[in-house]
Symmetry: C2
Subunit: 416 residues, 2 copies
């Protein structure tokens, strides 16, 4: 008898019919003898509807009040799912984050979980109840409702699994697992049976938006066996089959993994590249350039600083395309003169393509294979950034699909 956490996304909770299907699936697991905790998202469209109302009232809504408003979407979901579970003949009870309690810091709209009380939930499980808990939200030390930011329900589910010492956390979503790359770009992209949490981390942060990145961090940190699988299968399909479907995110590299050098090709299409040219190469210059960008709440992705020539250096970084214009303005108005830069240049139409795999650690020549593949396709590499388990290149947006397909083939990811 295992303790299992299920997480269902907004699409899976998108209608009364679908909620009933979720209940059927959970009931199947419960009847097989498992202790079940379920974390559902808000019904699809609901969070947008609520935030839309807030935006209509205020162009810059107060984050605390936004959380108060947005948190209701998940509260409705847990209540409805508990009702559906009861209709399936199970004993079920729903909790909002503050009732459990899921404790967070006070960073409204992007709070981080600090601690989860498990006592109440474990007691309910001991009594044979299915416990349904709101994702996406918690309560801060002052008793204010907080939310974890978009996709936060994944994090809630994994954190809950960690707090409860669950045997596995199953993330049900509208894709059936993690692929070697986006199947919309490469026809023969293949579903991975397993992936390490580190690889998943790179895949997630690089745009394979199957799981919220913080949920993967949690899975790694607390060694939570997490599985991504489809909510679109027949809810009454055999349990044994369902238990082996999807992609398992593991925290240990086993033998199987050694064989696969590369797990996948991730990409981020909508990037913008900005270069601050001819800045004096002195301590603190990176902070002087990126500080104002961070203050404006703009996420910076790749950062490269060239070797300096005659005491001057070029400083290049990328941002999401939607923030490109704003970042350029900040640099031109508040940074250029201050740091004594020669000029600010940029390109709003670049994409990042990354080769990801823990196998890289023990295999040489991955980088050169990647670079040769791109060269053979005539694709110019604008920036390179590497980590232990990934190589990312920045290229002209128009070559993105071509690069992904070529790399997918070069690393034989189409072959099981």
């Amino acid at each position: 008898m295992a303790l299992i956490v299920h997480k269902y996304g907004g699409t899976s909770m998108g209608s009364v019919e679908r909620i009933k299907n979720v209940a059927k699936r959970v009931a199947k697991w419960h009847k097989a003898g498992h202790r079940m905790v379920v974390v559902p998202s808000a019904m699809s469209g609901e969070t947008n509807r609520l935030l839309g109302l807030a935006k209509e009232i205020s162009a810059h809504p107060d984050p605390r009040e936004l959380d108060m408003i947005a948190a209701t979407g998940e509260q409705v979901s847990v209540g409805l799912l508990a009702l559906a579970l009861k209709a399936e003949g199970l004993d079920a009870v729903s909790y909002a984050g503050w009732q459990v309690a899921v404790k967070t810091d006070s960073a409204f709209t992007k709070a981080r979980i600090s601690e989860i009380d498990s006592e109440r939930v474990l007691k309910d499980l001991d009594e044979g109840k299915v416990v349904v808990i709101t994702g996406f939200q918690g309560v801060d030390p002052n008793g204010h409702i907080t939310t974890l930011g978009r996709g936060g329900s994944d994090t809630s589910a994994v954190a809950m699994a960690a707090a409860l010492g669950a045997d596995e956390c199953l993330i049900y979503t509208d894709v059936d697992g993690v692929y070697t790359t986006d199947p919309r770009v490469v026809d023969d992209a293949r579903r991975l049976d397993k992936i390490t949490f580190e690889e998943m981390l790179e895949m997630a942060s690089l745009g394979s938006k199957v799981l919220q990145i913080r949920s993967v961090e949690f899975a790694g940190k607390y060694q939570v066996k997490t599985r991504v699988l489809s909510s679109l299968t027949d809810p009454l399909c055999p349990l044994e089959q369902e238990m082996r479907s999807g992609t398992l995110i593991t925290f240990e590299e086993d033998d199987t993994m050694e064989k696969a050098v590369i797990s996948g090709i991730a990409f981020q299409r909508d990037e913008g590249k900005i270069t601050v040219r001819g800045v004096p190469d002195r301590p603190g210059i990176a902070y002087q350039i990126l500080g104002p960008i961070a203050d404006a709440n703009i996420d910076v992705d790749m950062i490269i600083q060239n070797q300096s020539v005659e005491g001057k250096t070029d400083f290049t970084f990328t941002v999401g395309r939607g923030e490109y214009q704003r970042a350029m303005e900040i640099l031109k108005t508040s940074v250029q003169a201050h740091v004594g830069a020669a000029e600010i240049v940029g390109d709003p139409k670049v994409s990042k393509v990354s080769v990801v795999g823990v196998g890289m650690r023990s295999h040489v020549g991955i980088a050169s294979t990647a670079f040769r593949t791109l060269a053979e396709e005539g694709i110019n590499i604008q920036m390179i950034s590497t980590s232990e388990i990934k190589i990312s290149v920045l290229i002209d947006e128009k070559y993105m699909e071509l690069a992904v397909r070529a790399l997918h083939k070069a690393f034989e990811l189409d072959q099981a």
Copy 2:
């Protein structure tokens, strides 16, 4: 500088535009130097939408989960209103019932408030904040969310005013006060400037559905000066004018009131009358008849037991018309044989008309005036029930409007 509680109904909160108007009105009061607490209802239609979802999932939804779901409507409202108040330049903060805390018993969907902590709210008020608190809901001793039942936001507002020692509780609604009777029935029905809470209690319970009856009980018990007034006036109308508008529910009978013998004519159109005939007149018979009705959660209104003849008596009571059929079935299947009644007869098409006024206490002849008026119109009285400040008669439904108009005129309610 007074402490004022405002309550706004679902219609007043029905759209972004209306919520902004509420904020403008509250801002006007705040700028005049008052300490403001606001209790808004869910946006109109929202509670029905939520309960509709629940009903789609389960024909007999669990009340605890219903409360979990329904309570979100008000939570959205407080967040939106706090945003709108901030947009007006005020410092505002919203709270759900459990955050205040509004403590209730555990009777889900019809909980009663047991205690309200005022510390947190008073602290915010001291800091110059406008405090926005969810109506309709609270938290039980086990930390479960409860709701107070339909119209419960009125009760929340009055209870909050009592807990805070507020100077006045203003209930903004889509009517501009309490009338001598329903203006849809009697053209020259007149708005009352004042009414005692006891009269209001009779008016409310008799179908003048301006205020939830429990809110009036609270107002009486804790002597909260409560005013019912329109939310449809210009939100920026002069404060002095607004402070004198609507109907004030007072807890003391002042001189003005002595003059008005009767305050109004209330009525309840949809009643059903049931008579259990020929039951042995022995102790416990009323309980044996009404016990099973109460167990079925059917509210009984008027109850009359006739003088017994030869040890047998007739027992008559009224129920809401919607419950008439069910009540008849219960009596025929579970009660008739058990109590040895001769027969069960009924009439599902009766209405109750009531003459209400504290002046009745010190004036004689009110009943005879009422009975004479009805007789002159040829209206047969089927049942009579009286209290210190009201006389109710049950009549054929088809005469209801005629009876109300005739009594309204007979007691000169059309004259200021």
